[in-house]
Amino acid sequence: MKRYLKLVNFEIGRFMKIYLVLIGITILSQLIGVIVMAKNYVANANEVIFVDSLPLEQFIEQYGEMGMMDVVGSIWFIGPIALCAAAFIFYIFFIWYRDWVGKNTFIYRLLMLPTSRLNILLSKATAIFIMVFGLVSVQLILLPIESMLLKWNVPFDFRIDMTVSEIINNNSYLFILIPDSFIQFIINYGIGFMVVFILFTAILFERSFRWKGALLGIIYCAIASIIFLAPLIYEIGFEASFFYTEEIFVIEIILGILVTAMSIWLSKLLLNKKVTV
């Protein structure tokens, strides 16, 4: 346990620089985005109202009010989120392959640690989870700050004020990242982590058997997906609705846990018996 925690900390430390850069980009881009968009809006309003002398009400009718929903939909806001998402998808692979590449193959050290090799897998996964949650938290903290910034830059008559929940509920990707129900949150990230473990298993297949392993890894991903989606494939494929929704829900939870457990078990087997440096 102690070594596992140390490894988690170690993995986080190794990614820290890139992680901080990602957070920095997110903060800067989103804050700048709020200011730029607010200033543009206000400038446009001034132009239209004072130069073209359009009444305020008519301006609002034509151009709409400014609110966080405009900011949240802009590239300033989505861009860094997409960047972070891409970075972490890349990181799922990078977290393993960087230990193999180059002359200083750190994987020797990791595999020779006097601790269960499963700990290496779990610590890498945990590091990813913690950092993903960290990014989500940064977003949660940024939203009220951005709302404030918007308030300072856009006069009351021109803006719609929204609470953090309202902002999130109005935006489909934010809603996936931070759903309003905690159970949904657990389900969303549970599925995410299941996928991480499936990919880890595929990576370890590749690391164990190289070219053949890459193929096995892809096959494993397919099998895992089919198992997890089996009830849905059945329902859609046969246009049947044999299961009641609540049954599907329970079955999916069980299958999700099963697939995750299977992935971890297989990874452990590969790490202990098959992995090659």
Partner: protein
């Protein structure tokens, strides 16, 4: 004692090891000799369970390899296995974090012996110094067995001498050491036992002093005989 029995390993179409058996005793230096690509490194990785063998058995003091054995046996590969951006001090801290067998006093001694500076980053070290840090990280573990892969290859002559000094010092004394090399000359007098490998099998396994005493042959003589014959 490290016992390797009938080790077999195939990479793709190439049968790297085809039934390799030998033993290496504690308190002795055993040298695996063979031209490059003969599977010496694979054997060491096999012992450490870094590369699974297709068949065969490896016992260390009669026990199979397990996670706890990494406190008893260690492997020093031919390149350093630390993150290059770490300083030497951080690398030592890492070892101390995970190994009960880490001996900080000995690590400090080795630092002095090799004249290394703790604050230096691994990536900024010369080739020779990198090899020394690599050696240090393995030697500072209080383990019974040390496996070293080509400890002398590609290193300048002064570093080589310093590293050779280690073998005659208390740092290695009483431990079982297995080293691989394709170049025996420098260390001929240092080793107790030689295992000659080729084509995935052990061609000859002998003790150097006995060979000199009984047949008046140097290791190189035997190699010449074995590989040419």
């Amino acid at each position: 004692m490290i016992e390797a029995k009938e080790l077999k390993k195939r990479f793709g179409r190439k049968q790297i090891l085809n039934g390799v058996s030998f033993t290496a005793n504690k308190g002795e230096i055993t040298c695996l000799i063979g031209i490059n690509g003969v599977g010496k490194t694979t054997i060491l990785k096999g012992i450490m369970n870094l590369t699974p063998m297709d068949s065969g058995q490896i016992l260390i003091d009669g026990e199979k390899m397990s996670k706890d054995m990494y406190e008893k046996i260690t492997f020093i590969p031919d390149a350093i296995t630390m993150i290059p951006t770490m300083t030497i001090a951080e690398a030592m801290q890492f070892m101390q974090d995970y190994y009960k067998s880490w001996n900080q006093a000995r690590a400090t001694e080795l630092l002095r012996f090799f004249k290394l500076k703790q604050e230096e980053k691994i990536s900024s070290l010369s080739k020779g110094n990198t090899a020394k840090v690599n050696l240090l990280l393995g030697l500072a573990l209080d383990v019974d067995y040390l496996l070293m892969d080509e400890p002398f290859s590609g290193i300048d002559i002064f570093s080589r001498e310093q590293i050779a000094d280690v073998f005659t010092s208390h740092l290695v004394e009483d431990r079982g050491v297995v080293i691989t090399t394709h170049e025996i000359n420098d260390i001929e007098h240092l080793i107790d036992k030689v295992v000659l490998l080729d084509n995935g099998v052990v061609l000859k396994e002998f003790r150097t002093e006995e060979m000199r005493e009984d047949e008046g042959k140097s290791v190189v003589d035997v190699m010449r005989e074995v590989y040419r014959g």
